[in-house]
Symmetry: C2
Subunit: 132 residues, 2 copies
Amino acid sequence: MERRRNHSKKRDAILETIRSTKSHPSAEWVFEQLREDFPNLSLGTVYRNIAEFKESGEVMSVAVVDGIDRIDGDTSPHEHLVCTACGAVEDLELDLQTEAISKQISERCGAQASRIHLTAYGLCRCCLKKTN
Amino acid sequence: MERRRNHSKKRDAILETIRSTKSHPSAEWVFEQLREDFPNLSLGTVYRNIAEFKESGEVMSVAVVDGIDRIDGDTSPHEHLVCTACGAVEDLELDLQTEAISKQISERCGAQASRIHLTAYGLCRCCLKKTN
DNA sequence: TAAAAAATAGGAATCATTCTTGTTTTTGCG
DNA sequence: CGCAAAAACAAGAATGATTCCTATTTTTTA
């Protein structure tokens, strides 16, 4: 039951902004980035479009840091590090056997996993340096 | 700088309730469970104590499902399944090489991971049956 | 038992997110 | 083109989980 979507400059810009960063932004951050190009952009529009992107699978949320949802425009399988000091969310590329994990879940629990998220919590390189 | 903690029946009961379930409850759920034994219990007290348990490492949050924080009184290393249909959070026991993963993170990113969370999203056994 | 410290109840405040409504933009069509 | 229907939007109100505040109660200490 796909609803037809009209073209929208703002929606395109929102998706482009999300895709062009590796910062795993919040809705607020996306909004701030676009404020210059679209002075009358509404934060609600950013939230609404992000929700739609999530439904269509173009964007996924990867973490909730300090109560704020952080999203990723890269939906290919990869993992994340959440820095418990500065709140940064970074990409990881581990050799995670997601197939084997899904199989284990199916066999042991009778459940069907559609996505496997691995999130490491700790100190990013920057914050680790500062503790020395 | 550990603050001295007095003894408190309610705090003990809150921790016991959290530890005695595998449902990975919300604060609200814990509150409801204790309402019978402590008719004048305050939801704020549950939140405050959960926050303290998190700080002391006795409890950890394992997922945010539909905007609600879900906690676990079992802080031993294990993984979770979040059912995208009914919102249940279940324990998994996978053969995850967390040591090797932490090592990879350190070598590739220079970061120091203190916890590795693996969360699978999909259909639990019950909800999977219903889709047949 | 009395004062000091800690914990709580109750309710107000916060704040990310969602919803509502009136307006603007886009699209399809004559 | 010009116009009506559909979709998208701005602005701000509403929601709801969580946190904060303060007066009261419980626990500890001596």
